[in-house]
């Protein structure tokens, strides 16, 4: 049984309440930080833990914290990114719904480490129920003296607020999120300056994902070094994986980084195998933006080694044969799924969510959607396939924020690995309307071995 750090007590009845959360050892990390450690020492523990940003980018959290500018007399802010909008990702919703105090406790620890006295949790607007849950948890914590003035007699003050978004994927990008929190359209800012220098209200700001902030609680409780011993190499600790698609047990799983992908998909402890006895066709391993991989490449690397759930192993082979851990949004496709249709669906998503600021993304995502629509509906031309690759290349790297890359990668990777399926949609356009291409040569190597 794998070690659980974030979800250890999630099944405990009443764990949503402060009382039960306290009984299970909650708020010990706040006590430790405020009574025994200086803010710098908290940052040091997080650095030692090797924790990497859990929102998708994987940037070391402790290092991000240490970049925060600290000019005299200027307030600093911590903003939690709870905009969770990467398709395939629903772990933060799960954590906030069932164990909200884990995030509140993490916010206190992290705010103390950064010297922030006002912190915000920016939650996507559709999560109104979670906003209510967090507001209740914050009120409980404040009434019990964990928030407000002079917490635990330490002289440290903190106010914590929840801010709703308005339904915009782009606000998961940290500078768009800050614009939104300032009451504006979510247009990403040009960097530099980075938020660590000029973020919310032009003040030094750190933006961290829900799971990253919650992870600081076990890190302080067990110590950064002990946390770093979990996992493999630079993929330390545990990670929440959101599993969806054609599997027997969709849901949120906490894994120790380093778990083999094959075990994650087929073990009853996790996804429980492919639903309805079907075979595995493809996986998007880290949220819709990361490259899709066919069954053979998600289970084993191009070198033939077992693929592991780590930042390094999933990206082994670069984009030629690898992908990314991303946000941990693990979407599984069975043999009946059409790659062209799904790629069109994702392209429509990115077109819909492009903020419109940069023309390569605003125009390019629209063209990709149109061309994919044509291919999916049997009106495509052979040249459309290369046209898509060309458009995706012209978006990638040419935009202010990573949404352009996020839109380009799913299209480019689908064509890279499933080109024959796209060609079949051109040559057999009518047949493609009534049946799917199927598994072809992407067969699940496990099932074949049996």
């Amino acid at each position: 049984m794998a070690q659980k750090l974030l979800l250890e007590h999630i099944q405990v009845p009443g764990i949503q309440s402060l009382e039960v959360y306290r009984q299970k050892g909650g708020y010990r990390a706040v006590e430790k930080a405020l009574k025994q450690l200086s803010p710098e020492e908290v940052v040091e523990e997080v650095k030692k833990s090797g924790l990497r940003g859990r929102g998708g980018a994987g940037f070391p959290t402790g290092m991000k914290w240490s970049f925060l500018a600290k000019p005299e007399g200027v307030p600093r802010y911590l903003v939690c990114n709870a905009d969770e909008s990467e398709p395939g990702t629903f772990k933060d919703r799960y954590l906030m719904t069932h164990i909200p105090h884990a995030l509140v406790e993490g916010m206190i620890v992290a705010s103390y480490a950064l010297g922030a006295h006002t912190s915000y949790i920016y939650v996507r607007g559709e999560m109104m129920p979670q906003i209510r849950i967090l507001e209740r948890a914050i009120a409980e914590a404040k009434a019990a003296g964990w928030l407000g003035k002079n917490i635990l007699g330490s002289g440290y003050d903190l106010e914590l607020y929840v801010q709703p978004g308005g339904g915009a994927y782009i606000c998961g990008e940290e500078t768009a999120l800050l614009e939104s929190l300032e009451g504006k359209r979510g247009n990403p800012r040009i960097k530099p300056p980075f938020p660590a220098i000029a973020g919310l209200y032009n003040c030094p700001t750190v933006v961290n994902n829900v799971e990253s902030i919650a992870a600081t609680v076990p890190i302080l409780n067990m110590g950064g070094e002990a946390y770093a011993k979990i996992g493999i190499e630079r993929s330390t600790g545990t990670k929440l994986i959101s599993a969806s698609g054609n599997i027997n047990k969709p849901g949120v799983y906490e894994i120790e980084l380093g778990l083999p992908v094959e075990e994650f998909i087929y073990s009853d402890e996790y996804c429980g195998g492919i639903a309805k006895g079907k075979r595995l066709k493809a996986v998007v391993a880290g949220g819709s933006s990361v490259p899709i991989l066919p069954a053979n490449l998600i289970l084993k690397t191009a070198k033939g080694e077992n693929r592991l759930m780590t930042y390094e192993s999933l990206s082994d082979g670069g984009f030629a044969s690898g992908t990314m851990l991303g946000s941990g949004g693990f979407i599984v496709f069975d043999e009946d799924q059409c790659i062209v249709r799904n790629t069109w669906n994702f392209a429509r998503f990115y077109h819909h969510e492009s903020c419109g600021q940069c023309s390569p993304c605003r125009e390019g995502t629209g063209w990709m959607e149109k061309v994919l629509h044509r291919l999916e509906h049997g009106h495509g031309h052979q040249s459309d396939i290369d046209l898509l690759v060309d458009v995706s290349k012209k978006i990638e790297g040419n935009t202010i924020c990573p949404l352009g890359d996020a839109a380009a990668w799913p299209v480019a990777s689908a064509i890279r690995h499933f080109r024959d399926e796209f060609e079949w949609h051109v040559t057999q356009g009518q047949e493609a309307q009534v049946r799917n291409y199927g598994l072809a040569h992407y067969a699940d190597p496990l099932a074949l071995a049996e």
Partner: protein, 173 residues
């Protein structure tokens, strides 16, 4: 698109203004514009959609230009710029939900309600639309209904029928 034809004068009740006052306290002095999204959610919850006169009133309350409210209301997809049915069924139509049947669910809703996407049923009770990923992919297909954004998960044709019947019943008593 902003609705300028149905622009009737509007009044904000005192308890709504009190809620606005609470929200504004969360931000530093002079940063009251940060309250814009939370306030637009409150207005939409009270009136069902955002009319131009409602947005103008919000601008006045926050001491910002009306255009600053319009540009935000038109950017974020949760805000309705036209009147809606009393219950708006918003179905996730993004990839992971489609892998488990979201397209079938949308067709069923269209058939059952007898109106196309973004249209209102003649009794004014329902409208529906497809929306992009709502971070509930493991429970798909899913739909949400504002203003509390209650989620309905693992949808089937039968559960849709039940839901629509329940909502009809609820609004008839």
């Amino acid at each position: 698109m902003l609705s300028v034809k149905k622009n009737e004068p509007i009044e904000f009740q005192e308890d709504l203004i009190e809620k606005f006052d609470e929200v504004v306290k969360r931000y530093p002095e002079g940063r009251q514009k940060s309250a814009l999204l939370p306030i637009l959610h409150l207005v939409q919850a009270a009136f069902g959609w955002l009319s131009v006169s409602a947005m103008d009133k919000v601008a006045h309350y926050l001491d910002i230009e009306p255009i600053e409210v319009y540009e935000v209301a038109t950017f974020y997809t949760m805000f309705f710029l036209q009147p809606q049915g009393k219950y708006v069924l918003e179905v996730c139509r993004t990839g992971p939900c489609c892998l488990v049947g979201a397209e079938r669910i949308m067709k069923h809703i269209e058939h059952r309600l007898g109106v196309k996407e973004n249209e209102i049923t003649p009794d004014g009770l329902f409208s529906w639309r497809g929306i992009e990923c709502v971070a509930a992919c493991g429970m798909g297909p899913v739909l949400q209904i504002g203003p509390e954004y209650t989620y309905y998960e693992n949808l089937t044709e039968e559960s849709i029928d039940q839901l629509i019947d329940q909502l009809r019943l609820k609004s008839s008593v």
